[in-house]
């Protein structure tokens, strides 16, 4: 029997498990392969929904489904937080004390918001990158009566268009509530433009000018003065605020850090094409958990899952793995009535599509279609 363990029940883990179940249907039915998905959460969450929750547009429950309901029959779900990956014994140890042996392992342990790296942030700032944070920000925005909102962005963060989307959708929401004239909206970004992709940045500049959104580039939040309500950057800039919304820096999961599989920031070094973990034969990484220089986004995890599932299926059948990840990333960019998208790869520069209402409708529909992606159908 060949044991395959997928660690993590997010977008990457769920997609890779389901795609493996499709590739290896006959082997799973004959009992030649055991395919275990190990997750710390019995629910699967569509994380882009947090933005909608924070803006009061949808409850969190709309973006959560039981993980089991998304998995194909060949996938054995074990809800047991992983404590350690023992790469010598080739076993994952769960917090329950159970051990999950593997011949092949896929790390899909994600990237996790880390607010503690900025002193004062937890006391005086808000975020929409966690369920609790989104709810708390929703409450703060509901009672907001005008003033200065400052948006700051940590590195690395997932969903790289979310900071821009928050600024634009917040502008819409403040106008709808007739608060925009009483609000100064300040968007900051860590580097010298409004978004890392120059084309997206130019589009954002036009949107910001049209909407009167202020911006401050080269702003890396270093600390928050809680009493004075001032955001201070490591470049020495100070921005007073009435409401601070921060996109937190992320780090890798505890289990990969504790198992010696991660770099200093907690992300897993991997071959950029095969996605095999550096120095670890038969162990792969998909999605936000890797330290590859690609966007931490659901689409990245999905495209990587296709590669890893195809190659693992080949290995199980003693065939040659031939699939290669080409760096593909796809992101919708939501801007209220209109939306755009951008797609790129290691060798393909991005070229954003013209924003249109039709793309906004497609983006809204994708919120539902996502569940087909997780099932490995789309």
């Amino acid at each position: 029997m060949v044991n395959v363990v997928v660690l993590g029940g997010g977008t990457g883990g769920t997609a890779v498990a389901n795609q493996l179940a499709r590739h290896l249907g006959p082997e799973l039915r004959r009992g030649r392969v055991r395919l275990v998905l190990l997750s710390d959460d019995p629910y699967h969450t569509y994380q882009p929904g947090f933005l909608a929750t924070a803006l009061g547009k949808a409850p969190l429950g709309r973006f959560r489904r039981p993980l089991r309901s998304l998995l194909l029959p060949g996938v054995e779900l074990q809800v047991d937080p992983a404590r350690l990956v023992d790469t010598r014994a080739r076993v994952v140890e769960g917090e329950s004390g159970r051990r999950y042996p593997f011949d092949y392992l896929v790390l899909a342990t994600g990237a996790h918001p880390f607010l503690e790296d900025v002193p004062g942030l937890a006391e005086a700032g808000h975020t929409f990158y966690t369920p609790a944070g989104a709810r708390r920000l929703q409450q703060a925005l509901a009672s907001f009566a005008g003033g200065r909102i400052v948006l700051t962005v940590g590195i690395p963060h997932k969903c790289p268009v979310a900071p821009l989307e928050m600024a634009l959708l917040l502008d819409d929401e403040l106008r709808r509530r007739d608060l925009r004239e009483r609000t100064e909206l300040v968007y900051t970004y860590p580097i010298q433009r409004l978004h890392v992709l120059p084309e997206v940045s130019r589009w954002a500049e036009e949107e910001f000018a049209r909407r009167g959104i202020l911006s401050q580039t080269f702003f890396n939040l270093e600390r928050v003065e809680v009493a004075g309500r001032v955001a201070v950057s490591l470049e020495g800039m100070e921005l007073p605020f009435d409401l601070l919304i921060h996109v937190p820096a992320h780090r890798g999961a505890g289990v990969v850090r504790d198992s010696g599989l991660a770099d200093r920031e907690g992300f897993v070094p991997a071959d950029r094409f095969s996605l095999e973990v550096v120095g670890q034969q038969g162990i792969y990484v998909v999605g936000d958990a890797s330290n590859l220089p690609v966007s931490k986004a659901g689409s990245t995890a999905h495209y990587q899952a296709e590669v890893v599932a195809a190659n693992l299926a080949a290995l199980v059948r003693h065939e040659t793995p031939a699939a290669r990840y080409d760096g593909k990333v796809f992101c919708f960019i939501e801007a209220g009535q209109a939306a755009s998208f951008v797609e790129f790869g290691y060798l393909r520069p991005p070229s954003p599509a013209p924003a249109s209402p039709a793309l906004a409708a497609m983006k809204a529909a994708y919120g539902e279609l996502y569940w087909l992606t997780a099932r490995g159908l789309l």
Partner: protein
Amino acid sequence: MQEPVQGSAAQQVATRVVDARGSFCPGPLMELIKAIKSEPVGAVVEVWSSDQGSRKDIPEWVQRAGHELLYIQQEAGYWRIAVRKAR
């Protein structure tokens, strides 16, 4: 902006290499900022970038953040840019 320094002596002091070739998003500068944040003062991070814009973008941030640009070295199809964390 400091002038590029040629030579292998500077190259040897790099304590960490960040291969950001082919990275459009988050891009070489964000990869550099991420690495610098978690390195100790005095560490030298060498970032590899295939984006010509990095030759301008990275020195500009390094100057604003108060770090030190050590060298920009051109290779076949990419640049090696080294930064010492100064604070």
